[in-house]
Structures are given as C-alpha cells and as structure tokens.
C-alpha cells in the first residue's frame, strides 16, 4: 500500500524535483566557458544579479506576460463560443465536434508551427490570397511580427481553452436556464447571470492552461516571431544554446518558475474547488 502511494512520489522526485534542484544548483554556479559542462558549481548570485541589472531581461519578462495575456484573452473569446456551441449541440454530434478540436494534436506541434511559417511567409499562401482577393494590395509580411506570435499561440493552445470550458458548460443544468427565462430573463441576460458565473471555473482553468505555457513559450516566438519579438523562453534558449551560459540560462528558468508559481497555485485551487462542488 505504502509502495503504491510512494511510487508516484518517487517518480516525481527523480524526474521532476531532482532536475529542478540541478537547475537551481547550476544557476548558483559561475560561467566557465572552457569546461564541460560550462559551469563551475558554487554559491554565487552573479547570474541573478545580471538578470536584474540588464534591462533586456525585464523587457523580455514584461513582453512575455503581455503576449501571453493578450493571447489568452483572444483564445477565451474564440474558445468560449466554440465550447458553448459544442455543449449545446445534439449529444450524438458532440464527440465528433470535440474530436475536431483535438485533431491538430495528431500532428506534431513543431510541424504545425512550420506549416504556419509557410502560410505567413513572404509570398506565402496568406499573402497571395490577400493580394488575389484584393483585400490588401500590399499586405506586408506577417511572419516575424508579434501578430504572428499571437496567432501561433492562440492556434496552438486553443484546445486547452475549449476543453475545460466545454466540461463546465456541458454540466450546466438546462432547467436553470429555463428558470431564468421563466423569471423574466431574456436569453442574453440569462447567459450573463447564470451561464457565465457557473462556467467561471472553466474560464479560470482554460485561461491558466493557456497562459502558463504561453509565458514560457519559445518555439513559437523563435519560429514565427523573428528577432523583433522578445520573449523570456527565447532568451533562455539563446543563453543556453547560443551563448552557452548555463548559469544565466538556469537563473532565467528559476525566475520563470517562481513567477508562474502564483498562477499554477491558483489553477490548483480552482480545480480542487470545482471538484469539491461536484461532490
């Protein structure tokens, strides 16, 4: 019995906690370009000090938070109607609609982002279409802008918004909406006073599931954002692979984790609460 309970903890300890401690240890070491790995373990806050002294890192932080927040909002505005429509669809059609939502997962994430590169590139399909249709005669390149990064994040994380929203909306008791209508609420008022507040746990879960990974996202800004977009995940990647400064990259990672502890704790509390409510 104790073994069964202990096994997941052992797993998490070896494959999650230990690497985290390793990263923390490296972040406290000093950069040693000539050794392999390029780090000399110790107890120095030099890398952290550098993080706070150079404006680049603060700017990258803020722009990551901003891009993640706006992308989350857009995903919510797109995902809510989708989840609502699926939850209101005939029960026998719901599995198909849900499958369409998760269908993109059948293809590798990386390949899908590469596909967007092709679509958004100079003379790519989208630009050609805009020119051909006359919607914009000289649309300019979308690839390499923050627009492309937003688009990529919303596209990649939309299912994570739709699924928890669907789960709460699907549980909504129809008789509550009938009661609202019976008491004089027009459809939109019933939505605002009954559907929306009761789907709040799904909204919180969906937003956090998009926001948390989006803050640390590096593939999308790297491939779609070009040099113009500053995001902390990309900075981390550059420090690690381009500059080879392991301690600094680890310090960025530690700060990223600390910053996301708040939203993650919020997510956990939200999940625990809606579990309680169900019982």
């Amino acid at each position: 019995m104790r073994f069964v309970i202990g096994l997941p903890f052992l797993w998490l300890g070896i494959f999650f906690l230990l690497p985290c401690l390793l990263v923390l240890a490296i972040s406290l070491g000093t950069y040693a370009p000539d050794s392999v790995p390029p780090v000399e373990l110790g107890f120095s806050f030099k890398s952290f000090a550098l993080l706070f002294s150079d404006d680049l890192y603060l700017a990258a932080w803020l722009s990551s938070l901003r891009i993640a927040a706006t992308s989350t909002l857009v995903a919510l505005l797109l995902g809510y109607p989708m989840a609502y429509a699926i939850a209101r669809a005939a029960p026998n059609r719901r599995p198909l609609l849900l499958m369409l939502v998760v269908l993109p997962f059948w293809t590798s994430f990386l390949i899908r982002i590469y596909a967007w590169m092709g679509l958004l590139a100079d003379n790519g399909l989208i630009e050609q279409f805009l020119r051909w249709s006359g919607l914009a005669s000289n649309p300019g390149t979308i690839l390499g802008t923050e627009w492309a990064v937003h688009l990529g994040i919303v596209y990649a994380y939309l299912p994570f918004m739709v699924l928890p929203l669907y789960a709460t909306l699907e549980k909504l008791d129809d008789s509550l909406l009938e009661a609202a209508a019976d008491l004089g609420a027009k459809p939109f008022a019933a939505f605002l006073t009954v559907t929306l507040p009761l789907s709040l746990p799904g909204i919180v879960a969906g937003c956090l599931l998009v926001f948390i990974p989006a803050v640390g996202e590096f593939v999308i800004p790297d491939l779609l954002g070009g040099t113009e977009t500053l995001m902390i995940g990309k900075v981390l990647w550059d420090e690690f692979f381009t500059n080879g400064d392991w301690p600094l990259a680890s310090a960025v990672a530690v700060c990223l984790l600390v910053l996301l502890v708040g939203p993650i704790a919020l997510f956990q509390r939200n999940q625990a609460r809606s579990l309680e409510r169900r019982t």
């Binding site: 009938e178 209508a181 019976d182 008491l183 004089g184 609420a185 008022a189 006073t193 507040p197 009761l198």
Partner: protein, 332 residues
C-alpha cells in the same frame, strides 16, 4: 381586469417525432383555482404544463392566459411563473438573490426588491436563511425557496411541476396544507402537475385526469372519485372493483362502499366469497375476497375498535354486500 377564465386552451397539440404527447386538449381554468393535472408518466401532463410556461411550443391549437393569446409568447414575457420539480435554484446565489432574481430582471428598485423578498421569505418561514446558499439548505427548505421565488412576482398563474415529489412522506403532508393555505391567502391560481392521486385529491379544487395525451375526465375530486367517467379513471383514482354488468357496461365499486360480514347481510346486492389476502394498514384493513360471481374483489374496513379479534382471517368464508347506489355505471 378580465373576468373570464385565467387559462383557456383550445385544441392544443404537441408532437415529439411520431409521439403525440398532448393531443387536441381543450381546457378552461377559472381564477383562484388550485387545478391539478393528474396522470401516469408519459400521459402528457408535464408537456401541457411546459406549454403553459412557454418552454414548449404547441404544434396546433391556441393558448390564452387572462384573455390574451400567449401561444407564441416566449417564457420571459408571460405573466406566469413556475416551480420546477428539481427546484432549479441558482447554486451560485444565496436564498435572497434567488428569490429576488425575477424582480431584478423586471428592473424593480433595490429597496423594493429587499422589502418584497423579506416579505415572501417570511411567508414561507425562511426569513432567517436569506444569506444561505441552496447547498446549505434541507430539501424542505429548498422547496420553499423555489416556491417563494415563483411567488414573489405575483404571477397571474403559478405552475407547479410535481411540487412535493422530492419531499419525504411526513413533510409532504404538512407541506400540502401549507401550499393550500398560501394559495388561498394570496388568491392566486395554481396549476399543479402530479402523478400522486392522493396529492391531487387532497389539494385541488378541480383536477383533470390525463391519459395518452388526452384529458380523460375533469371535475372536482369528489366527482372524479365517486362518478368516474370511464374504467380508466375509476381504476386510476383510488381502488375500484370493476364489475361487468348483465346487458353490457360495467360498474365501478369502491372498496369502502362494500360491507364485509360473516353472515349474509340484508342488502340488495350480496355475494359470497372467501378471503385470500389481508393487508392491515393500521387505520384500515384491505381484504382480497375471491367471489364466484365477480372474481377477486377488494374490500376495506375501518378499524374503529382496538380489539384484535374483530378482524377476518385468511381463508374465512365471508359475505359481501352493497346497496344499489353504491357503484357508478360506466359505459367505457
């Protein structure tokens, strides 16, 4: 104010695919009535109630409330409120917010809402629970919140879908009297759906027995019980011995209209039999008596004496007797 019937239904029909849930129903309900729609599951009573509320649109026929055609009016514009079988209380609002919901939708000013909510909560004895959430209330308290929420807008018509079904037996009986008291006190018209004939009989001023989407009989509880119009009604309401008459037709004979005795009674109608089953219910006893003339008949006796020796035993030969007026002749 219009003095005609509060509800007038003409040829109302609702189909679900091939099933006709409500089949050309005509009905008039007068002001101040406590009207019950009674029937088994699938008889169409709930669909009829939902058409009154506006949740179902009739396929045919017209529906008038207080003289106005409401056939195509959406639920939020009808002068009607409903108490749901599941109560459908908003789980994220406390009792006061639930009860005040309808008033807020109508744009009533906050002080007036507070006053009217307090007044109606007092009426249902929940004034001390205004800040509780529905999940913190007992079943009986939730039922009263649902009732208060439906009453607070003073609807011309209050619809109740199985209002007592979710309560336990003891509470159900006291709530029955409570609801009749409220209905008389407020002078409202109640239309209630129930599958429980005892509930319908004890509460309603008039009731409609429904069967397969049609109304089998409308009348006062007394009329429906003592003068059932058909074998279906006689059998559905209470217990009835249906006896085939010579020369066609049937007669419905209630168990309490029959006397049970060891010797042949001096009554116009008598039949000999043998007791096959006894069900002792405390206040009364039910006997199944095997007779030669009419098969197995059900007879009841009131247990007015506390002595145990008065009762009849199984296998005992007995006589049944009744007067000529005891039964109701049925054609169908």
């Amino acid at each position: 104010m219009n003095s005609g019937p509060i509800v007038r239904i003409e040829g109302l029909t609702r189909r679900f695919g091939p099933i006709v849930a409500v089949d050309r129903v005509d009905l008039e309900i007068a002001r101040g009535e406590l009207f019950a729609l009674l029937g088994g599951s699938g008889c169409g009573k709930t669909t009829l109630l939902r058409m009154l509320a506006g949740f179902e649109t009739p396929d045919e026929g017209r529906l008038f409330i207080d003289g106005q055609d409401m056939t195509d009016v959406p639920p939020y514009r009808r002068p009607v409120n409903m108490m749901f079988q599941s109560y459908a209380l908003f789980p994220h609002m406390d009792v006061a917010a639930n009860v005040g919901y309808g008033l807020r939708r109508d744009g009533v000013k906050a002080p007036e809402i507070a006053a009217r909510v307090a007044e109606i909560l007092k009426l249902v004895h929940l004034q001390d629970h205004a800040r509780r959430k529905p999940s913190q209330l007992s079943g009986g308290q939730r039922q009263r919140v649902a009732l208060a929420r439906a009453l607070v807008k003073r609807p011309k018509l209050l619809l109740l879908d199985e209002p007592l079904a979710a309560l336990d037996r003891k509470l159900r009986e006291s709530t029955r009297f409570e609801m009749v008291r409220l209905q008389e006190q407020l002078g409202l018209t109640f239309v209630m759906v129930t599958h429980d004939q005892e509930e319908a009989m004890s509460m309603a001023t008039r009731l409609a027995v429904m069967d397969a989407g049609r109304i089998a009989q409308i009348g006062t509880p007394h009329e429906v019980y003592e003068h059932p119009a058909s074998r279906f009604v006689a059998d559905f309401i209470g217990i009835a011995n249906i006896i085939a008459l010579e020369g066609g037709g049937w007669m419905a004979l209630r168990p309490e209209k029959i006397t049970l005795s060891a010797a042949r009674p001096a009554l116009p109608q008598t039949v000999a039999g043998r007791i096959v089953d006894v069900a002792y219910e405390g206040d009364r006893s039910l006997y199944h008596v095997e007779t030669d003339a009419h098969g197995t008949m059900t007879v009841s006796t009131t247990n007015t004496s506390r002595a145990a020796g008065d009762a009849f035993a199984r296998d005992q030969p007995v006589w049944l007797g009744w007067s000529d007026e005891a039964g109701q002749r049925l054609e169908a």
